[in-house]
């Protein structure tokens, strides 16, 4: 195979599924059973009746593997639609994180200053801790966590990526 065929790329894939028991296990089992990567995975119901859920999965592989992943997802019985947002054009990717920083004195001031620069919100505070909430691309959250580490980063909880195409085009 050519060199281009072996190049890896990341893919953010949106999957609309019937919201039924076991559907998430099917998707995750597909990835583990066939040896595909999951960099992040999020899921929640998205329609008014709660019958349809949207799974956003971030994965990586060669073009051939990513095409396989999409074809394998698409043939699962409860899957309505599979969309490769990375391939299909401009799209937004966001992640939400809750970040706990523990410290006293000057460290607290520095933490707040950095949080302000990153537009992280304080959602909980004690005399020795903050919980920041921030949304953004994964890299922004990574960068914020890296800065907080020497200051007193204690705990991180992240949602994983959610994504949507830009413009009027919808995925239904």
């Amino acid at each position: 195979m050519s060199e281009a065929g072996n190049a890896q790329r990341a893919a953010t894939i949106a999957v609309l599924v019937e919201n039924e028991a076991g559907v998430l296990a099917r998707v995750i089992g597909l990835f583990s059973g066939r040896g595909y990567n999951i960099d992040s995975l999020t899921v929640a119901p998205v329609d008014e009746t709660g019958r349809i859920s949207r799974i956003t999965v971030v994965t990586s592989g060669t073009e051939m593997v990513i095409e396989q992943i999409k074809a394998q997802l698409d043939r699962l019985v409860p899957v309505h639609k599979v969309s490769d947002l990375t391939l299909e054009g401009p799209h937004l990717v966001r992640e939400l994180a809750l970040i706990k920083v523990v410290g006293r004195g000057e460290e607290r001031v520095e933490a707040l200053r950095l949080a302000d620069a990153f537009r992280a919100r304080v959602v909980d505070a004690t005399t020795e801790s903050f919980v920041f909430e921030m949304t953004g691309a994964a890299e922004k959250i990574d960068a914020f966590c890296a800065l907080m580490r020497p200051i007193g980063l204690a705990e991180v909880s992240r949602t994983g990526a959610v994504a949507i195409a830009r413009g009027p085009r919808g995925l239904t």
Binding site: M1, G5, V17, E18, A21, G22, A25, R26, G29, G33, M64, E67, Q68, A71, Q72, D74, R75, L76, V77, P78, V79, H80
Partner: protein, 599 residues
Amino acid sequence: MSAAMKPASTEAALTMSGAEVVLRALKDNGVEVIFGYPGGAVLPIYDAIFQQNAIRHILVRHEQAAVHAAEGYARSTGKVGCVLVTSGPGATNAVTGLVDALLDSIPIVCLTGQVPTHLIGNDAFQEADTTGITRPATKHNYLVKKSEDLARVVHEAFYVAKSGRPGPVVIDLPKDILINKAPYTDAPKTEHRSYRPQTEPDAEQIHKAVALLKAAKKPVIYSGGGVINAGPEASRLLNDFVHMTGFPVTNTLMGLGAFPAEDPLFLGMLGMHGTYEANLAMHGCDVMLNIGARFDDRVTGRLNAFSPDSKKIHADIDPSSINKNVPVDVPIVGDAGRVLAALIAAWKADGEAQDKPALAAWWRQIDEWRAKDCLRYRQEGKIIKPQHAVKRLYEITKELGRETFITTEVGQHQMWAAQYFGFQKPNRWMTSGGLGTMGYGLPSAMGVQIAHPDALVIDIAGEASILMNIQEMGTLAQYRLPVKVFILNNEYMGMVRQWQELLHGGRYSESYSAALPDFVKLAESFHAKGIRVTDAADLDAGIREMLAHPGPVIADIAVAKDENCFPMIPSGAAHNEMILGPDQEGGVAGVTDEGKVLV
């Protein structure tokens, strides 16, 4: 909703138990036979079976055999096979059969009992997480937790099992759901919410394919189980297309019978133990048309050396089969029969002429390869060559002219059956291709015989494989199924022994079939006839005696112990590196460690 507000039809429907609803739904989906084994969790269904006559139940001796029997039934009829097993061990025993059906794309609906809903998750007696265990073993599975879902789920299971690329579907049925009253609803007339496989091929892709095929100088058609699954009409269309084009055609193990073995345009089976001419045609072709096959590793050999100079057209009903192992130039998603019909129409409509002189030259090349006579063997003396045993079985059954179905176990005998038994029609050949399940052949033959009571059904077996589901001799006796078990007995797990000889220095680690039973006495103890043949001079008489007997028979044919199955593409080798036989120089000395890690 209060009881008074309920519509009258629902009220009337609530006279049936869940078990009765299940049986009614099976009947409405065309089920005539169900293969199963009772147990605590499915007693309500067995009680309902007792009180009706529409569906016949065949009691197997092990749940794995129930699934294989249903596979044999499905593959020989084109219908959905149906299985009923209990919770826990009943379901786990069925798993091998389910995976077998998954890999070979066989439509099966398997009902499993489950502990009552309020006990699920409590580690109750005979509880297993059946939907969890069978999720990667099935095309789809269901756990029914509400009585009102019951009928819909059964209807949907049949739709999923048989549509698109067929496969096994499990319905897990908690006992309370089976006992409680449940409404019956007819199969929905509307499309499935999310599962709508594409069957009609894209016209543009068909035109691209025809353009490539018309211009081909060295074409080959490679067809697989998808053509069989698409029904007998697809095989007829394949025949038409091959004769219209004059192209050489080869079948995969799963595809045998889709094209008549005795037709001069047939190159035989391809792949690891395929013919020299089929594999070299695949290697040397300039245009390859794959219909309903999946570029399986048994077929391709070393991927980076697979058919290096060809444009590839791949028609498959499952888009995930396309570009999975081998990148193709013209992908076509659709049912094999519809694709063939479209190809035929487009071929006729296309004004371009074929390159007939190039095709004639290509056939001359193929005939040179054919002249190697790669399946030749020497039958000399008393010791029976296994190839000879299969060949004589084929010739004698052909002479008898009865409708004949062949099943196999897994190993050398399976490959010899594929090489030496010529199949003229589809649905006559049942073998475990994808999973390679030893113990498949006998129960599968039972299922075939149930579907075709007057036909001749033969399980070509090895002495090791047959012991994996030998208990089904009891089922043969109970239902008077005249299945013939034709054992090529070389006292070894022959394919394991062959690999140990060729790749592991002749160290025959644990591959000798020690302490074998006396198969004649074994047959007799199961109320069947036993025959043993040890001398080549008695082979024909033994085969005739087996075929003439009206009941089940085990024919134990003592064959050469150290015979290897050739031709062979050693693991990690390419099609043009196949070895023809023991006399060939070099043999498999060149197999690398990279090749050795492959199975």
